[in-house]
């Protein structure tokens, strides 16, 4: 009986390996983290400072990552640290060529007057297994009048992770 079980293991194992040899895909990257912090309240005219921390605690080395911050509406961009690659209206999205799926926006038209304002840091390299988070800072001026809740959205984008975002709400008094 023991011999039968042993033999079946030796005979079945290669068969299993063969059947699993269908196209193996590279797994998407896990362990990419983003976290935001900022003021819970602010008043018109004040400067709101948002702190964005990103980390790669997973196994993938990531090159060419973009960190994009969509600044809250009715705030004005003041400064970002480290200096970003771009700050201003977002390009309008268009379809990437067929056969290639990418989360990145590609500009084909001039921005419209009501374009979405954003700040972009890129390219960023994220080393695998980092214990320390990298820190990015965004400063905006809160425009008045009117009390409302504003939301700052920060997203990491890369084809191996798609888009991972974190948001922070601030109440404007």
């Amino acid at each position: 009986m023991r011999l039968a079980i042993l033999l079946s293991v030796f005979l079945l194992a290669p068969a299993t390996a063969l059947s699993a040899s269908a196209e193996r895909a590279e797994a998407p990257c896990e362990g990419i983290l983003i976290h935001q912090d900022g003021p819970f309240t602010a008043a018109p005219g004040e400067t709101a400072v948002y702190s964005i921390r990103i980390a790669n605690v997973g196994p993938c080395a990531m090159e060419g990552v973009s960190l994009i911050d969509y600044i809250p509406r009715r705030t004005s961009y003041l400064e970002a640290l480290p200096p970003p690659a771009s700050a201003g209206p977002a390009p309008l999205p268009t379809n990437p060529p067929r056969g290639r799926l990418s989360p990145a926006d590609t500009a084909t038209l001039a921005p419209e007057p009501l374009a979405v304002e954003r700040v972009e840091w890129s390219p960023i390299a994220l080393k695998p297994g980092s214990a320390e988070a990298e820190r990015y800072v965004l400063k905006v001026r809160i425009e008045g009048p009117g009390s409302r809740t504003i939301t700052n959205t920060a997203c990491l984008e890369h084809e191996r992770i798609g888009r991972i975002c974190d948001v922070f709400d601030t109440y404007v008094k």
């Binding site: 009986m1 011999l3 039968a4 079980i5 033999l7 079946s8 005979l11 079945l12 068969a15 059947s19 269908a22 196209e23 193996r24 895909a25 590279e26 797994a27 998407p28 969509y70 509406r73 009715r74 209206p89 977002a90 309008l92 999205p93 268009t94 379809n95 990437p96 067929r98 799926l101 990418s102 989360p103 038209l109 921005p111 419209e112 007057p113 009501l114 374009a115 979405v116 954003r118 009117g146 409302r148 809740t149 939301t151 959205t153 984008e157 084809e159 191996r160 992770i161 798609g162 888009r163 975002c165 948001v167 709400d169």
Partner: protein
């Protein structure tokens, strides 16, 4: 004579030549709930459009879902279920194939043009009833894009109240949670786009059907979302954007709440549409709905946000 040792030896050898057990023959189901965006209303009527009589335009707005080809294009151009664009359905199919999934994937799009959150429980019931038939192995993916019609009103201040939207959505998720299956149901809840941006002067004054302006066709004749689009001052624009933002915040917070309330549901909120700028290049001839290019843009953009089916590159 003892036959047992010989039989024990032969059984695993014989087993090698037997066919592997088939995966369940029942297909997976993807469900689509929502409004005219998911129904792909007018997706195939380009901007600028071919000539159409003014009477024809009025009839279109009154006929509702009777004008199936124009008012619903779910099979071909819906961002969620369309076969002729890189829709969620096609992207999911590709992902499943690359992951070695052998079950077929079907899609059931129950979105209705004009639907508000109050209409979602009915749509969810249709999905639950479809699953109840037992013809599908599991509900593999659900998309819900809703809120635009709740934000539009006959007059400013007439939008669906936040509390009412919340109650409507909780009822919807309760119905979806009644679907019994082993795996959690992934639900992508997509936020409302920047509707007031459509009232921007450059779009309002663009020429569309019969050479009429977008404002004439969209707002005077078709009466599409006038409360959001007829703003004249920055203050009015701001007020209208706050309507959208407050409702998107509700959707975002509700996604988290529902995932805790119903462990069998895994709801993820995407705010991607709110961060996409709008130009006439992405509009259908009514200067309101997304054309087929925009439907594909919507799909590709929100696909990047969903956390379950991350793109796998072949080795």
């Amino acid at each position: 004579m003892r036959r047992t040792p010989l039989v024990s030896l032969l059984v695993p050898v014989i087993a090698l030549f037997l066919p592997l057990p088939k995966a369940s023959a029942k297909p997976l189901l993807m469900a689509v709930l929502g409004d005219s965006i998911s129904a792909a209303t007018l997706a195939d009527v380009p901007f600028p459009p071919p000539a159409t009589s003014e009477e024809g335009i009025k009839r279109l707005s009154e006929d509702g879902v009777k004008a199936d080809v124009l008012l619903e294009n779910k099979f071909r151009y819906s961002w969620a279920s369309g076969r002729l664009i890189r829709s969620q359905y096609r992207l999911l199919k590709r992902h499943l194939r690359r992951s070695g999934e052998r079950r077929a994937l079907l899609v059931y799009n129950v979105a209705v043009p004009g639907a508000e959150t109050g209409d979602l429980p009915k749509q969810a019931k249709r999905i639950a009833e479809e699953m109840e038939k037992g013809e599908h192995d599991e509900l593999a993916y659900v998309t819900i894009l809703i809120g635009s019609n709740d934000s539009c009103a006959r007059r400013p201040g007439g939008e669906t109240p936040i509390a009412t939207m919340r109650a409507n959505l909780l009822r919807t998720f309760a119905i979806l949670a009644s679907v019994k299956q082993r795996k959690r149901i992934p639900i992508l809840l997509v936020g409302i786009p920047r509707i007031p941006d459509l009232g921007e002067e450059a779009i309002r004054n663009s020429r569309t059907l019969l050479g009429l302006t977008c404002e004439k066709v969209r707002n005077d004749i078709l009466n599409l979302c006038n409360s959001m689009l007829r703003w004249k001052t920055p203050e009015e624009y701001d007020r209208n954007m706050l309507v959208v933002e407050d409702r998107n915040r509700l959707l975002r917070l509700l996604a988290r709440e529902v995932s805790l309330l119903y462990p069998q549901l895994d709801v993820f909120y995407s705010n991607r549409l709110y961060h996409l700028g709008i130009s006439t290049g992405v509009l259908a001839a009514d200067c309101f709905h997304p054309n087929k290019d925009a439907q594909e843009i919507i799909s590709l953009q929100v696909w990047s946000d969903q956390p379950w089916f991350k793109e796998r590159k072949p080795r």
